[in-house]
């Protein structure tokens, strides 16, 4: 395996018209520097466009790019929208290199593009000739605004892409963002992916395994009540988790109301019966789902409480569960690792789409 060490390659300022030439020169330089060694390889599985809306955001993303391209080699375009007096488009090119076993240098290209919001209409013409043919193009929307709320900037980049990746965790107005995004996702033909879905993977795994009819017979079809507790900025995660459960188990959102600033309740229709869902936001903590409690009736009534602990284990709270103990390792992957994993999944995720469909309806019935 390649080593994680990243060899810095100095970045070069170039004109927009010279980006491809500058990248070629960069390769010539790398090959020349490697003279007598075992060679330099351009590693590239995708074109990756990353969209940021501030310098701070871009710096944060840029710090993770070496790790990202180690996991998923790509030609990276890091776009930053900057409000400043200068209307010119500022470009720098560089590469991220590392040594693989055998000494071979593996390099991925990195193009930094900074532009004034008034230049958004030119982005397509800058990027289109630089996209490597025969490889998929993905847009990672790194901004903390819901994509459809960002107008032409998002629309232009989405048009160039085969896949859109966004992260709903941390949106400033999550309830509105979730509704907006759910509408957009349901009308979208290309694969669209929310990183929140990946954050929820350990939750989906443990629920699927612990609530399996072999372990908890009769529980899934008789769930009566769910209470979910999450940290700040994790409302979209909670909605999506409930959306997934509802879509898999055939629950239909019937009505919902905001109880207070930090609590919302829904009634779902399940098998002709009412089912209560309550989502509570904690004032402190990190943006994740902390606890999910459920009660079920039927021939084998019981209850279970799933807890996400500081030790990154997701487990059943034995004191509040009628089920035998269970736990899985739920290490939160780094953002870059999740992006890399998502870039490799190029098909639409039907389960995600269905969960988002329910989320949209949850938004629609809220206040009814």
């Amino acid at each position: 395996m390649a080593k994680a060490t990243d060899t810095p390659v100095p970045s070069l300022h170039v004109d927009v018209a010279d980006i491809e030439k500058a990248l070629n020169r960069l390769w010539d330089t790398l090959h020349a520097d490697d003279e007598g060694e075992v060679g330099v390889t351009r590693a590239c599985m995708s074109n990756l466009i990353i969209a940021c809306q501030s310098e701070a955001q871009a710096m944060d993303v840029a710090a993770g790019i070496p790790q990202l391209v180690e996991l998923h080699p790509a030609r990276v375009f890091l776009l930053t929208e900057l409000t400043r007096n200068d209307l010119s488009i500022d470009v720098q090119v560089s590469a991220h290199c590392r040594r693989a076993d055998g000494g071979k240098q593996l390099c991925s290209e990195h193009v930094d593009i900074r532009f004034h919001p008034e230049r958004v209409d030119r982005l397509g013409s800058v990027l289109r000739p630089l996209l490597i043919g025969d490889l998929p193009t993905a847009l990672w929307w790194a901004s903390n605004q819901p994509p459809p709320a960002s107008g032409d900037y998002f629309a232009t980049l989405a048009d160039l892409s085969d896949q859109v990746i966004y992260n709903s965790v941390g949106w400033p107005n999550p309830a509105e963002g979730v509704r907006l995004m759910a509408r957009w996702v349901s009308s979208e033909q290309r694969p669209v992916f929310n990183l929140a879905w990946r954050y929820l993977k350990p939750w989906r795994r443990i629920l699927a395994q612990v609530m399996d009819p072999q372990v908890a017979p009769g529980a899934l079809e008789n769930i009566q009540q769910i209470t979910l507790t999450h940290g700040p900025h994790a409302l979209p995660l909670s909605w999506l988790l409930v959306g997934w459960l509802a879509s898999r188990l055939g629950w239909k959102p019937h009505k919902g109301k905001l109880q207070s600033g930090n609590k919302a309740q829904w009634v779902f229709k399940a098998n002709g019966k009412d089912m209560q869902v309550e989502i509570i936001r904690l004032d402190e903590g990190s943006p994740q789902v902390y606890r999910l409690e459920m009660k079920w009736l039927g021939p084998n009534p019981g209850h279970a409480a799933f807890v996400y602990g500081d030790d990154e284990w997701l487990s059943l709270d034995a004191e509040h569960s009628t089920l035998p103990p269970a736990e899985i390792h739920a290490r939160q992957p780094q953002k870059e690792a999740m992006i890399a994993a998502q870039l490799a999944h190029r098909a639409k995720d039907r389960l995600f789409q269905q969960a988002v469909g329910v989320v949209q309806k949850m938004g629609d019935v809220l206040g009814k």
Partner: protein, 514 residues
């Protein structure tokens, strides 16, 4: 698919088609080398990646005296030394909680009753509804014994009962000839149904091996060429740079033909040569692999010397150091006629492969560790660029590399830059390590997860094991009746004996230099 399809809408996930069900993995030989080097690290990695069932336990079972606590130390040492991912101190306490140990002798019925009692005690604590996987990491002579005792102790659930599952993983070798393989299969088959038995060949868990099917049937450019009309011949090489080392005891009873050809290499061959399956269902794939084995042209006993070369390594050099010959290795008889190298020429008598020779070679103390399948295409016609019969163009070669650098390469002819037309072979190279980032899971990780899920695609079925022995048996018979006192030799650190070179050169072909 699992024996019993449980209706659980939450278990459907596009990225993980089926979730593993809660289960206990009982490792027979749990305190042994395979367990320490491969199995416990594989389980640890699955846990670290969040892929194990939420309710899961490992119970090591061996004759060594050991407490649960000591077994956890044993596992930790194995993981620290051999795991793909380094040991995570934060994760360790949770992982080790699911490790247990039970001392017992493989041939003692009482030990199995104690094992059952221990499982009945552990499983409710861990929320495991009685699903059990028994991994026989034991010497071959104990396979039948373990299976019988498991059955007698009531540890094997009937597949048709619809209750918890019982699955058995059996390590190779299955027998040492056709008769003993049938015997082992018979005994195991009396205790477990065929769909409960997973005969493991770790080669089939390697990425490149799985990629053979994807490459052949996921690309439209290869399959039309994958036949005798376009392919000149195929070479399969599995070379090792090390000698017998500490495995002399086993190796003296096996040799290269039994150790590598009967299982790993014939499995590779069947994947490479099979007809397109009509589904990815385990038994469809396995049926198609079996068809290839049935089409192998039998080598009659009096033809063995023509088509098979066996040899032993002689003294020579390994990484600049002088090393001894096979007969001088510790644990090897000084008059041993066990082969450390074997080369074969074989044919697959079906429409697709009519007349295409397959050359196979495997051996120890060769220049490097390498496994590959190389498909050499036919020469271009002797016109235009291939008129010089003394310097023919290099043929196109598609090489599937299985280890150590998994990937594939294609050799093609190109024009050298310049005014004249000069042709030079270049290699287009794809390597997993440099194309895809991240680490590939180890073969055992993939295979253990498959057993938990109940997917037998990458495991050998009884009929395939016996078909491969059936084809091998005349070679063993010929060697047995030949009673040779000396085998050809090759210096350690070389690609094999001259006899093997002569065999392929008779056909106007050459072994590849890897």
């Amino acid at each position: 698919m699992p024996e019993k399809d449980v209706v659980n809408p939450l278990s459907v996930d596009l990225s993980d088609p089926v979730l593993p069900q809660p289960c206990t993995l009982v490792i027979f030989g749990g305190a042994g080398d395979l367990s320490r080097r491969k199995l416990l690290p594989a389980i640890y990695n699955l846990g670290l990646d969040g892929l194990l069932p939420a309710n899961f336990a490992v119970l090591g079972f061996s004759f060594e005296e050991m407490s649960d606590e000591e077994y956890r130390v044993f596992a930790r040492q194995g993981i620290e030394r051999f795991s793909r991912q380094s040991l995570d101190e934060e994760h360790w306490p949770n992982y080790q909680r699911c490790l247990y140990y039970q001392q017992g002798s493989f041939d003692d019925p009482e030990a199995y009753r104690a094992l059952k009692a221990r499982l009945d005690e552990i499983e409710p604590q861990c929320g495991i509804p009685g699903n059990r996987i028994f991994y026989l990491a034991v010497p071959p002579r104990f396979i039948g014994t373990c299976a019988r005792h498991l059955k007698a102790a009531g540890l094997v659930q009937d597949t048709a009962s619809g209750g918890p599952f019982s699955r058995l993983i059996v390590e190779k070798p299955i027998g040492r000839d056709l008769a003993s393989a049938r015997e082992v299969n018979e005994v195991v088959g009396e205790c477990f149904a065929e769909d409960q038995i997973y005969r493991i060949d770790h080669y089939l868990g390697k990425e490149t091996v799985q990629n053979i099917l994807v490459m052949r049937f996921g690309n439209s450019i290869f399959e039309p060429l994958w036949n005798s009309k376009y392919i000149d011949h195929v070479q399969i090489t599995v070379s090792e740079e090390e000698g017998v080392g500490t495995r002399a005891g086993y190796y003296e009873t096996a040799g290269a033909l039994r150790d590598m050809v009967q299982n790993h290499i014939l499995q590779l061959l069947s994947l490479m040569a099979m007809e397109p399956p009509w589904s990815m269902h385990a038994d469809v794939i396995r049926d198609h692999r079996l068809d290839v084995l049935h089409c192998l042209r039998p080598i009659k006993e009096d033809e063995v010397d023509r088509h098979v070369v066996r040899a032993q390594y002689d003294q020579g050099f390994y990484q600049g150091e002088e090393v001894c010959g096979y007969r001088r290795e510790q644990g090897v008889s000084s008059d041993s006629t066990v082969e450390s190298y074997v080369a074969l020429r074989l044919f697959i008598d079906n429409w697709r492969w009519a007349g295409v020779p397959f050359y196979i070679r495997t051996g120890k103390r060769m220049p490097k560790r390498a496994s590959e399948i190389a498909v050499q295409f036919k020469d271009v016609p002797h016109i235009l660029f291939n008129q010089d019969s003394e310097h023919p163009l290099d043929a196109n070669v598609l090489a599937l590399k299985i280890q150590p650098d998994e990937g594939l390469s294609l050799r093609i002819a190109t024009k050298l830059p310049g005014a004249r037309v000069r042709i030079y072979p270049v290699k287009m190279d794809f390597r997993y390590g440099s194309t895809f980032g991240g680490q590939s899971p180890e073969a055992y990780e993939r295979l253990l997860l498959d057993v938990m899920i109940g997917d037998a695609t990458l495991f050998m079925r009884r009929d395939a094991v016996e078909a491969s022995w059936e084809w091998i048996q005349p070679i063993l018979n010929a060697w047995e009746s030949g009673k040779k006192r000396w085998l050809p030799e090759y210096p350690s650190g070389t690609w094999g004996p001259v006899e093997a070179d002569r065999m392929i050169e008779e056909d106007k072909r050459r072994w590849r230099i890897l």
